[in-house]
């Protein structure tokens, strides 16, 4: 498996056997660390700003310096206000987002795993064309398809329903490609042949043997699908007109437009706190699953 081989590499390059400095074990550099601190600050300033300002009242938001705390610590009040505003519509958006993520990203992972595995382990008629069409589709701008998809869905009566978000989320060409790479790397053909000799059907072999070997790849694809669905904005923006079906992204943008618009309603504190609540789960998932996104991106970038 690719991760295992990489860990060995890391150990070899940072191993403590040799004390002297070398190309593979250079001295630490304060100047370079400071350079990276600039990157760190750049990445963190907006997030820190969000954290600090979600603790402020509307008044403090306008009257105090952006990166320092306000006169009153109102984080809890803001959270309560966010989830109770407009009869708790924010919680409805959160539930919608979870629905789209679980069904959409879950389905995308399932379909990509089956198809990537099938393409890697079977020679079947149409396989070459299948692969070429799916990978070619990556270059087609997703938004070029948005308008025709909307028109198509509206004729089928699917717009303004959860299906209009879930069905397009089910396709992840990148996920299919990742599973294809993982299958070639980690599912030995001899093992499948042994299972065939024992009389196991292809599907049974897949669900009892291959899925376990593919587990790290599947988690990686699931992670990227979850992020893509959680962050999806354009698709729900065009498909949905009923706020009851909005995901968090579209809902927050609507609040923001309300706050900044002509008939401005001062709900900036709700936009700030709502944004914070939106990013916390996804950031936590990323921090917990670090190993997987790193191996996923490396598999995607190295093979090709």
């Amino acid at each position: 498996m690719s991760t295992g081989h990489r860990t060995i590499n890391v150990r070899a390059r940072t191993g403590g056997a040799r004390r002297s400095f070398s190309v593979t074990r250079p001295p630490k550099s304060v100047a370079m660390t400071l350079l990276m601190v600039l990157f760190l600050v750049y990445a963190l300033v907006p997030i820190v700003w969000l954290l600090v300002n979600s603790t402020k009242t509307q008044g403090d938001l306008f009257s105090t310096f952006g990166l320092s705390f306000g006169h009153t610590f109102a984080l809890w009040d803001n959270i309560v206000a966010t989830v109770t505003h407009d009869d708790g519509i924010f919680l409805r958006w959160l539930a919608n987002t979870l629905l789209y993520v679980v069904v959409g990203a879950g389905g995308a992972t399932f379909l990509a795993t089956l198809a990537g595995y099938g393409l890697a382990k079977f020679r079947f008629p149409g396989r070459g064309a299948y692969f070429a069409v799916v990978l070619g589709a990556v270059a087609v701008p997703g938004t070029a398809l948005a308008v025709p998809t909307f028109l198509l869905f509206s004729q089928l009566g699917l717009t303004n329903t959860p299906w209009s978000i879930i069905i397009p989320s089910l396709i992840s060409p990148f996920g299919l490609y990742l599973i294809w790479v993982y299958t070639i790397d980690s599912v030995p053909t001899e093992l499948l042949e042994a299972a065939r000799l024992d009389g196991a059907g292809e599907l049974r072999t897949f669900f009892t043997i291959s899925v376990r070997l593919l587990a790290p790849g599947i988690v990686t694809v699931a992670l990227f699908s979850v992020v893509a669905t959680w962050n999806n904005y354009f698709l729900p923006l065009i498909m949905l007109t009923d706020p009851d079906w909005y995901p968090l992204t579209v809902g927050l943008n609507q609040w923001s437009a309300q706050a900044a618009g002509v008939a401005a309603e001062p709900i900036f504190n709700l936009v700030v706190t709502g944004s914070l609540i939106t990013i916390v789960p996804i950031v936590v998932i990323f921090l917990l699953l670090q190993r997987f996104w790193q191996s996923g991106l490396s598999a995607g970038s190295v093979k090709q």
């Binding site: 379909l111 270059a139 028109l151």
Partner: protein, 317 residues
């Protein structure tokens, strides 16, 4: 298969039986050729529904015109001729092209600097930098733009504080001349860490022996970067460039979310994608909207293809 025991005959027999078994499965597989579709049909089914059908439908739509008087009529390539003479389309196209030529190189250069620094093993707290610089990628574009929109704003943003501090209005993120740069900054913030991880992952696959060989040859610092690291990540650079080209030509979320804050500056045809969106959903001009979307799709695919070809040709040399 090797063995140290004197009983070689059974092993030979086992091997012989295994080869016959293998050939028989091969035959069986050839007969059951269609089994691959057992795994691949569900993806293919949905793919045709959400990718192929809309694509064909868009091509079909772009050949017609819908007018109040006369209804739906076939106009051939008429919509394409209109688009190529449409200043609104070219205005947006010029903007994303400029974005592509300025923002993408800056972002990829920054990502490469960060990846090389993290891979150099010369940093304190390497892991911290790797994770935190990547973190913005997990933030939804809408939230990223809202946060930067607040930072940019005159009311309570950092811009206002900096302007107060310097006196006057030095920073004007929403002014006509600066708004594209302001968006460029947001996009850079979102994706610099993502590209860094792509480059870093490619750097990690360079075998240690290569560095040891370079060390024996007396190569140091920059020489190692130029002779070993940059050539090794060429494939990753090509991929990151293609993703960035696609992203730039599709630019929509950032200007769309920022629009209420910079109302008179971000027009409805600010980028080709915003133009296509507004043609459809504000103007009901579905046929023309599909035409604009298709032209942008073709441009994107052609440029991505050229980059891919040039990138891989260099690799062969």
């Amino acid at each position: 298969m090797t063995t140290t025991t004197p009983y070689t005959a059974p092993t030979g027999e086992q091997e012989a039986s295994r080869t016959t078994a293998e050939s028989s499965t091969a035959v069986r597989r050839r007969r059951k050729d269609w089994q691959g579709w057992l795994f691949t049909w569900p993806f293919a089914f949905v793919f045709v529904f959400v990718f192929i059908t809309p694509l064909v439908y868009a091509l079909w739509l772009s050949l017609f015109q819908n007018q109040l008087v006369g209804g739906n009529s076939f106009v051939g390539l008429g919509n394409y001729v209109t688009a190529f003479q449409d200043p609104s389309f070219w205005d947006g196209f010029g903007r994303v092209l400029g974005f592509l030529l300025i923002q993408v190189p800056i972002m990829l250069l920054l990502a490469m600097v960060a990846a090389l620094a993290i891979d150099s093993a010369r940093l304190y707290a390497t892991g911290l930098f790797r994770v935190v610089v990547f973190l913005p990628y997990a933030v939804p574009a809408v939230v990223a733009v809202l946060m930067w929109g607040f930072l940019y704003s005159d009311n309570f943003g950092l811009t206002a504080s900096i302007n107060d501090w310097l006196g006057g209005t030095v920073l004007q993120p929403f002014a006509r001349r600066w708004v594209t740069a302001s968006i460029g900054n947001i996009v850079t913030w979102e994706y610099v860490g993502y590209n860094m991880v792509i480059f870093y992952s490619a750097l990690k696959t360079i075998p240690t022996e290569l560095y040891e060989a370079a060390e024996i040859d007396g190569a140091r610092g920059w020489q190692v970067v130029r002779a070993i690291k940059l050539p090794a990540v060429r494939g990753a650079i090509v991929i990151a460039t293609i993703f960035s080209i696609i992203g730039s030509f599709q630019l929509f979320n950032e200007p769309n979310v920022l629009q209420p804050l910079a109302n008179n500056v971000i027009t409805s045809s600010f980028t080709p994608n915003m133009y296509a969106y507004n043609l459809s959903f504000a103007g009901q001009q579905y046929n023309y909207s599909a035409t604009v979307a298709i032209i942008m799709g073709v441009f994107t695919a052609v440029i991505a293809y050229v980059v891919q070809m040039r990138g891989s040709r260099k690799e062969d040399r």
